[in-house]
């Protein structure tokens, strides 16, 4: 089961490396968002540092939508999804594989964006462990929810337009928790970052369990 999931994740990552959409299109888009936020908030460096964590996670959500649509398109463009359904692979393995592939792509984008944010906003990290834990757990929540909602929106037949409307409200708790935890890790807000990481962990576990339960049925409908 896990072997099949890893095969699917590996395949998705190989496709992304080959197509270079993440590196040539989505990553520059991510950087562009940060630069534009910088322009929009003027050159007030303190404002940028204060709002940096929030800008970071809003930007990640925007690029996550692109990555999720891309992950869905990989299976749908030439009906590979039907082939997967006909294979001995369980829908659980497909879900875990697609989520893992998306998770690793988003994590890479987050690292790039973090470097850019530190460079552009001249920010400094007070608690690197808190940043890492928040990044990993929030990304699990985003990837697991994104994989589920990607296939849900496909079933409804209006993926490009409906996906953000369906997904963003569900991920609001993740953005709030991750922003607070990052704010603490960057020393910009007086909050207990680890408590927010605890909340994020609960959300990530719940969303992943929900995905495992619902994905198979939604894949059938898609």
């Amino acid at each position: 089961m896990l072997r099949d999931a890893w095969l699917i994740a590996q395949k998705d990552l190989r496709i992304e490396i080959r197509s270079r959409i993440i590196t040539n299109q989505i990553a520059p888009y991510t950087l562009l968002i940060l630069v534009l936020f910088g322009f929009a908030l003027d050159a007030d460096i303190e404002t940028l540092r204060d709002t940096g964590p929030g800008l970071f996670w809003v930007s990640i959500l925007l690029v996550a939508i692109l990555a999720i649509q891309r992950a869905v398109d990989i299976e749908n463009s030439d009906s590979a999804q039907d082939r997967l359904l006909l294979s001995p692979v369980s829908s659980f393995s497909i879900y875990i594989g697609k989520t893992l592939g998306l998770f690793l792509q988003l994590l890479l984008l987050e690292v790039l964006m973090m470097i850019a944010m530190i460079a552009l906003f001249d920010s400094s990290v007070d608690d690197f462990l808190l940043v890492s834990a928040t990044g990993v757990i929030a990304t699990i929540a985003i990837a697991s929810t994104g994989t589920l909602y990607g296939v849900l929106a496909t079933g409804l037949g209006v993926r490009e337009t409906l996906l953000p409307i369906l997904l963003l409200p569900v991920l609001a708790p993740v953005v709030i928790g991750a922003t607070r935890a990052f704010g603490d890790a960057f020393g910009r807000v007086n909050a207990d970052g680890w408590a927010w990481v605890g909340l994020l962990s609960v959300v990530a576990v719940l969303y992943t369990l929900l995905g495992m339960l619902a994905y198979g049925q939604l894949l059938e409908e898609a």
Binding site: R18, D78, S79, A80, R83, P88
Partner: protein, 225 residues
Amino acid sequence: MTPVIDLQNSMVLLGRFPALTDLTMLASKGEIIIVKGPNGAGKSTLLRLCAGLLPMKQGTGSVLGFDLTTERMSVRPHVGLLGHKTGLYADLTVEENMGFWAQISNASSADKRSAMDLLGLKGRLESVCVRNLSEGQRRRVSLATLVVQRPSIWLLDEPHAALDKEGKELVDSLIIEASKAGATVLIASHEIDKVGLNQKRIIEIAGGSVVSDTGESHGKENNVT
């Protein structure tokens, strides 16, 4: 002998549209059946029903002994479906696509090499991205992924489309070999003259129902309502 495919008064809805209505057919092990009919007759829907990809709204049906109402997911790993689309990943090479589908189907590396050899995919084409292949070459790769899977039922939707003469002959020989090995083959085609198989049964469907069945190799068991 228990039929491999047994559909009785089957009805399939696509949305609210009845794509198959009151369709009855039997198919036995090793049989080659051409399903012909005009566009929109329900040929592709019939193949997808037999693959366990579509639910049956009315009637009864079983494939390989699995009830299509309650066990259609169990049918799937035993079936190979070549649809209008190839089911390949455009950004992967021929070798990578073959490797992925072979591993997913639990086939050995030797099986993969043999399927690639059979379909003429070894050598120059191995390292070419599927997106850079011609339509006919993609069709060959897709067929190779079916060969490596060794299904008990082959469901081929217009398998000769986009293939040259050599490719069509190759497909015909693959079908005959599969049939000799005991696989049942259903071929949907609206251009029956392109199918060069001699020993074949022809079922004609129109408006989602069977309108005629030559039943050549099936005898009385094969009569269609």
